[in-house]
Each structure stands twice: as C-alpha cells, then as structure tokens.
Symmetry: C2
Subunit: 214 residues, 2 copies
DNA sequence: ACAAAAGTGTTTTTGTTACACCCATGT
DNA sequence: ACATGGGTGTAACAAAAACACTTTTGT
C-alpha cells in the first residue's frame, strides 16, 4: 500500500463582534501577517469542538455562539499542502471581549471587516461569505441577540442590525418588528448614559437560542 | 513523529428526483443495506469534483445541479474509522433518470424519502437535512427548475413544488408568482397528453442557473 | 355528452413602508 | 434653556391569500 498523501483537515473560525459601531473580526497572527483562528482537527475530535478549542486557545473566547459556514477544499487553496477547511463563524457579545483594542505583537487583534488586511490563504473569502450569511440571517432569525450583552437597549440592538446590514433602519418599524417577535423582555432597569432620556434595558427571553421567524 | 491516526475525508451525495409524484433519493448498495453515493476524496481532488465523480461512478448521473449541504464530523458517526463527510445534494431532472424503477441486485435504486430503509451511518439524517434545505429554497429561489425536464407544463412544475413541500398550492397564485419571476418562457409547443385540454410547454430562461428571489 | 385537466381576475387580508413629534435626562 | 437620544401611532401601499368558472381536448 502506498503511503497516503497527507491531507490536512482544519477548522477556521470567523469571530465577529460589534465594536465602536463597526463589525469586526478577531484575527490571529501568522508568520507574515494575519489569519483566522483555527488549526488541524485532532483524531477523535468533533468538528465543532475543534472550532471552539482553537477559539479558546488562540483568542481566549469561550461560550460564544458558533455555526458551521461552509467547507473549503479547492486543491490549490493552500500552496504548502492539501488542506481542507471546515469554516465556522462565531458571534461575540459586546462586553465579553477578551482582547485589548490595540493588540501587542503576537496577540490577536480586532479588525473592521471593511478594512481587512491581506489574510492568509482564502481567509478573506471566508470572512466575506460569513458576513453575507450573517446579514441574511438578520432577516429571518433572532441571531443578532448573540452579539448583544446580557442587557441592552433597543437602540443598541438597532445599531447592531444597521452595522451588519450597512444601511439605516426606521426606528419605529424596527421596534415594532423586534417586539412582535417576542424574543426579548424588559428588565425594568434603565440605562442612564449621556445627556438624554434614559433607555429601557431589555434582555433575551431565551439567551443562547436562535429562533427562526415565521 | 508518531504515525498519524487515519482520518477519512469523504463526500456523500443525496441525489433527488421527482418520480411518480414522489420525492425520491437514489441509493447505492452497501454490504448489508443501502447508503448514499459517495466515497473518499482523492489527494488533489476538489470537493465538488469528488462528489460529481462518485455520482457518475456509482449511479451514472452526470451534469446535474450540485450544492454543498453540510459537513458531518462527529467522531462516532462511523464506528470503523474516523470519517468526516462533506455532504452534497444533487437535483436530477425528470427524464434524465439513468436507472430503472425496479433495481436489480447491486444496482442503485430510487426510494421515496417518506419510506426510506435504514441507511448506513448517519445517512438518514443527511437525507432529512437535504430535504429541509430543498424545501426552504423553494421559497426564495428558482431551484425547482433543476428538477424539471427541458420542457414542462406549469401544472408539472406546481406538482414538483407540492411534492417537496408536502402540501397543496393554489393554482392561480402559483402561476402568478412563477411568471412574475421571469425565469421561464413559453416554447409555443403544447403538451397533449390525456383526455383534456392541452397544456402550454415552458422552458427555463437560464437553464442550469438558480436565481434568488428579491 | 361527459370526464379531466388547463387556463384565467378580482377581492380581501395581511404585512411593510413612510413619516413627525413629545419626553426625560445631563450640562 | 438647550442639546441629545428615547419613545410612540397612523395612513398609504404592496404583497399574499382566498376564491369559481370557462375552455379544450379525448373518449
């Protein structure tokens, strides 16, 4: 039997968060630049578990929403070896960000999706696909709640939608739609920040769960 | 360096067709029962190409619509080895069916999705997921055209939708919706089959292409 | 003449979009 | 008092759903 040609099966994760009204991705350092967190799947390791593990090891993120995106397997996607990547995306709630804004050398760093540096391999395409998928899911699921802290205002939730979609939304229509979904509830508390009327704080009715609409 | 634990990366394909008003799947023979067409990915082979190759080798189907579905990698999904499967589904137009209705031994065979035999590994789950994805896509794409022969009547197209969704549709609303999509055109020919008024024959405006709606 | 499927519009209902003002707080 | 974002309802419009009869063929 001939020696089996090496085939590397990896996971790569696109960790999204909203920071300063921008959709950003958490990147890991690579020999010469940036790449998505990820790495080879261990024997006996579940795919989702591997994605979570690399996210933890390389970025410190844990307990985030994670969803399989697509599997990339073009033979020439990695010039060094045959590498097949099962790509995931993760949603990091604001407030649980483990990494400083200004990353030191060899620390992972957040970068806006609209100003990505050149990434290793096809990781740029992976980010683009993940962004499209996330934007599409806003229309038919409650997935945006996975990007929110435990308590949040309706304006903050609206800003998250607007940031991902890249377009402004009508305030009254947005609130009507979200409240009709019955996915959030008032906490009774108020956020008094800034020189203006305090805002009601809401929380997700079913945190960690993404509901589909209709 | 220790010997690398064997990891089998395979593709499995769910080939769908509408036969006799039922949604059916083309299965391959397995040592003890049935399984989906598929097999290990060769070094240097593209994932999509591998799926097409196995479809051809094991069922004779070629030139069909093919789409990646999901990657299944639970460590215990195959008791014999660590196997990760990139699953696809394929849509086979009526009229290009290469296999007889009553399969001989060791020939692939069509089986209704509502009456599947026990399948190898998690192939039953794969079929179920593919069916759900196909049904969902009817609502926002022209994917059903990939199941139609070159020329077809509106009633036939409606029957395909109804079969996949498992529910009847209103004839006038269906026709209005499909024609508004501007995805099919009249051929000028008529289908005169049976003791009733002949039906106009249509064809896809962009065969092989799946358009998204809205 | 009858059976069988093809073909065709309108009304009702539902959901979506557009739109402007007052409120509560900090400075 | 003023600046800032928070909070609220209604009318117009568009899309989806409900609904029944006439036409053309084969037998």
């Amino acid at each position: 039997m001939p020696p089996r040609a090496p085939l590397a099966l990896t996971t790569d994760v696109v960790p999204f968060a909203i920071r300063a009204e921008r959709l950003e991705v958490l990147l890991a350092r690579h020999s010469t630049g940036w790449r998505l967190p990820g790495g080879p799947i261990e024997p006996g390791e579940d795919l989702d578990a591997a994605a979570r593990r690399y996210l933890m090891e390389q970025t410190g993120l844990r307990d985030v929403y994670l969803e399989q995106l697509y599997t990339f397997g073009q033979p020439d996607r990695d010039p060094g070896q045959r590498a097949v990547a099962v790509a995931y995306y993760a949603l990091v709630p604001a407030g649980s960000l483990p990494v400083d804004a200004a990353p030191a050398v060899d620390r992972p760093g957040w970068v806006g999706v609209d100003a990505l540096p050149a990434l290793a391999l096809d990781h740029g395409e992976i980010v683009a696909l993940a962004h499209r998928r996330l934007a599409a899911k806003l229309a038919y699921s409650t997935i945006a709640l996975q990007l929110m802290p435990e308590r949040f205002t309706l304006s903050e939730l609206q800003a998250v939608h607007e940031t991902i979609l890249g377009e402004p939304l009508d305030k009254r229509n947005f609130r009507k739609r979200i409240l009709a979904l019955d996915c959030i509830e008032m906490t009774g508390e108020m956020a008094r920040r800034g020189g203006h009327r305090p805002a009601r704080l809401y929380r997700a009715k079913r945190p960690g769960q993404v509901d589909f609409i209709k």
